[in-house]
């Protein structure tokens, strides 16, 4: 969790440099889109819970997909279109595990990590409503 901006390529460089024996590295980054006249995104989180909750799920992913390393970064505070909101990276011996781990962590972050997004546009501010499909996606695992 960080209020600071980060650059996914630079993060991937550092993540990759620390690996030994990995055959596959998958990264995902989520970016603020300027949809429907969005001018900013305000991300609230539950500080006392966020770090432990994310760490627990990162550890789960490590064990479940036999990862060599995993990384999760999630911003909070005010973001603007084009800003990177969050990033996950997973390194494994083989491709399938790396893809599945990144996908699993994203499903988790979407519906189980204590973050809430508010979309700010010229016409007002509105809290993003959770999608049933995000909840359903988590049940795949």
């Amino acid at each position: 969790m960080t209020p600071e901006a980060f650059e996914p390529g630079a993060v991937l460089t550092r993540f990759s440099a620390g690996l030994s024996g990995a055959g596959a590295v998958v990264s995902f980054s989520g970016v603020v889109r300027p949809d429907d006249g969005l001018t900013a995104l305000e991300i609230e989180h539950y500080p006392a819970m966020t770090e432990a909750a994310i760490r627990k799920h990162a550890d789960d992913a490590m064990a479940r997909f036999k990862l060599l390393d995993v990384l999760v970064i999630h911003r909070h505070g005010r973001l603007y279109p084009g800003d990177t909101i969050m990033m996950v990276a997973a390194a494994a011996a083989h491709r399938r595990a790396a893809f599945d781990a990144a996908d699993f962590l994203m499903d988790y972050l979407k519906s189980r990590a204590p973050f809430w997004k508010k979309e700010i546009s010229a016409t007002g501010e509105i809290w993003v409503v959770a999608k049933d499909e995000d909840e359903a996606a988590l049940r795949r695992w």
Binding site: M49, M86, A113, W127
Partner: protein, 82 residues
């Protein structure tokens, strides 16, 4: 005495992000009933529990979970991270 914290639109409707509450409630559902009588904002925020999630000491929980020994209760909408 328990700390109750609110996030997102629950925080906005209630008008505060944290309050210390004296409670006799045995479970979360009992606490919710007590909180709803505190103000119109509380009643509005907690009127539809289908859109409210709860965490006890930073762990997700259900509304029938007991409050024994719990120090912090959090109420918030379904999460929208990622």
């Amino acid at each position: 005495m328990v700390d109750v914290v609110y996030f997102a639109w629950l925080r906005e409707r209630i008008g505060t992000g944290r309050e210390a509450v004296e409670t006799e409630a045995r479970d979360v559902a009992g606490l919710v009933e007590e909180l709803k009588s505190r103000s119109e904002g509380h009643a509005y925020a907690l009127e539809d529990l289908g859109t409210v999630r709860v965490a006890l000491d930073q762990e997700l929980a259900e509304f029938d979970a007991p409050l024994d020994g719990v120090r912090e209760v959090a109420f918030f909408p379904p999460m929208t991270g990622g």
